[in-house]
């Protein structure tokens, strides 16, 4: 059953170029400012790179945590919406989020990934990532891919051990 679609990263492909940050901030704020991007790149030396963004958690903890009920989660697509009038930038949502995916913007309101809802071709980061490391997917699809990959590895190693047997017999 399809669940919420969110922007997901293949961490092996991320090279830490931060193009996602530049294009996100341009889309949402009309300026270049990685500090205001809704997707953020983390680099841990020497060469671990990963971009993180909102994963549309079920019963989002940020929504529960907000003391002013300024956050709501859409039933339809799981996206977190911020009521700017109610949000006072207290940052309690930041504590609640396990991924650091929600932040307080320079305008002192909470911001997080909204899947580029107003953009015709969908999330800008996915379109611009030079490594094609980002995709719009669901947790169901991700576990499906993991199972497929696991079986392929199993079959491959079964094939390889078969080859070994043939050699031994010769």
């Amino acid at each position: 059953m399809a669940r919420y679609k969110f922007v997901s990263l293949d961490i092996d492909k991320c090279v830490g170029c931060r193009v996602c940050e530049y294009i996100c901030s341009l889309e949402k704020n009309k300026s270049f400012n990685p500090n205001r991007s809704r997707i953020r790149m983390v680099r841990i030396y020497p060469h671990t790179n990963a971009s993180l963004n909102c994963r549309l958690c079920e019963d989002a903890p940020c929504v529960t945590a907000c003391p002013r009920k300024a956050l709501t989660q859409s039933e339809e697509n799981g996206v977190i919406a911020v009521n700017d009038a109610l949000c006072d930038g207290c940052g309690w949502c930041i504590k609640a989020c396990d991924f650091g995916a929600i932040f307080i913007d320079s305008k002192r309101v909470a911001r997080t990934c909204d899947l580029c809802s107003t953009r015709e071709s969908g999330p800008a980061c996915i379109e611009w990532c030079p490594e094609k490391a980002l995709e719009l997917t669901t947790t169901d699809i991700l576990s499906q891919k993991a199972r497929l990959s696991a079986v392929q590895r199993l079959v491959k190693s079964a094939d390889e051990s078969k080859l070994g047997e043939e050699h031994a017999q010769k």
């Binding site: 090279v15 830490g16 170029c17 931060r18 193009v19 530049y22 294009i23 901030s25 341009l26 704020n29 009309k30 300026s31 270049f32 400012n33 990685p34 500090n35 205001r36 680099r43 030396y45 020497p46 060469h47 790179n49 320079s106 611009w128 030079p130 490594e131």
Partner: protein
Amino acid sequence: MYAYTGKILYVDLTTGRYKTDTFTEEFARAYIGGTGFGIKTLIDNIEPGLDPFDPQNPLIFAVGATSATMVPCTASKFGIFAKSPATNLLGEAYSTGQWGAELRMAGYDIVVIKGRAPKPSYLWIDDESVQIRNASQLWGKTTWDTEQLIRDELGDQNIRVSAIGPAGENLVRLACLINDHFRAAGRTGLGAVAGSKNLKAVAVRGTHDVYVAEPEGLKEFCKDLYERAKGPATAKYRTLGTPANILIMNAQAAMPTRNYQSASFEGAEKVSGENLNEHYVTKIQGCSACPCRCEHIAEVKEGPFKNSIARMEYEPMMAFGPYCGVDDMGAVIKAKQYCDLYGVDAIGTGIVIGFAMECYEKKLISKEDTGGLELEFGNGAAMVDMVRKIALREDIGNLLAEGVKRASQKIGQGSEHFAMHIKGLEMTGYDIRGLKTAALGYAVSRRGADHQRSGSYSWDLSGKVDRFKAEPGRGKLVMGDEDLYCVIDSMIICKFTRTIWKVYDDIAKVYSLVTGIPMTPADMEKAGERISNLARLFNIREGMTREDDSIPERIKTDPIPSGIAKGSVTTQQDLDIMLDGYYEARGWTKAGVPTKAKLDELGLEAYADIIGKE
């Protein structure tokens, strides 16, 4: 102004005071950014004849015109400028990674640091807040530790740090500044200038928005540029990287080996890009806003140099591989890592050690001088130890730390014949005995021996010209290359993507989309010529003459012994033919001095007193 912050930060480390000033759109249009900003700011803020370690020598940081935007391969590039302790002429070095964009977002395009702090300090730029902080606890630390300690102290892991290592502290004339672990503003000894100011690091954090004039137009154009950046023009950098050049240059007999004793190396396969990528590269990652990602991170998994890690490119591989006769990749990577940690220029240090190896071979220096190291060609372990000794000024490292020119003057006994430098800056990885256009480019390069100011080796290696023949027409080619590279180094565009840009059309177009300042391709070309001439004026004011546009002795007298370039030399006569052609193309006198007419043409009349004209 769009993109540009328009702000210059002046810091006086002696008094601990700072102030900001602004620059005009006219200034921006004339000098673009990066190189142009750096050289213009330097020439206007320094008295001629100064000792580079004098507190009044300004250490200048400048970002490019398109810094902190999505223009491909440009977001974080920046330049550092000062009078060089290696050459006593123009010092300049460029780096990338993450630092440059942060400075623009903090609100500054140029930082000018003068004076000397009373004790070890670091500069902390946090948007509008500017502090000079105690660095006693950082003094003596490696560049990597310095970055982490500053981040921990200030509580922000996104702080970008450009730092010196022990080499800069010890005023090693090959000292550099390292940022983001693997990126270096490497050459001309600027790390020593920082060290002479008791300046351990410049830390920066910026949170301001950067606006461009035409975001939609820019996005559309960038879509095309990003696609080109993933195409055949950049394939080399995205696959093997510049290390691919080891075998290419070897086959061309153009790879300096054993201190230019030959131009090809029997151990090339072992220190090749192919071997590196197959057995050592663990990740290829990217710089800010770069669709190419070409940073080849290599790790040594076993052997005496186990756990070494460094970013590898052709030049350091050449300098620690064939240049020192070493065919052990582990030693090459370790040596490079030491350069990053201790903060010395990898190219120059390899060249200086190769020189020392030849001195050792000829018994001009002994095992006592080297502190017990058998500094023979091919001894990788000794080479690695010598990098440390140079950074820490131990044993003969103390002399080698002065650079190959000064070291050979001290050692004497004919060693000057094989001290491979131009203007006091060590040679780099192209054997110019068999690459005539490159030889001219190297000879006239404003910061000393350098392939990065013109890239003129391309003409020779591509076969577009006869690489073995010296002709006056090469002058025009080198001039064109230099002026283009001035523009590229002012925008600042990564040279690895230089072939995706239609010159100068695309560059002028992007400039206007980003800054909103009208710029035609002809304007852009003129700006490049202006900056080249301004650099020349700076050097002339510091005492440079035609004689300094030279090539090393060995290049003139010792022919390449083997390979397809066998027998090649570049004689003084060859050079003079090409120099005459170059000066003529530039509109300079036979002595290599810009004419008054040229100055007027480029809007540089204010500097007429340098050429002795009112």
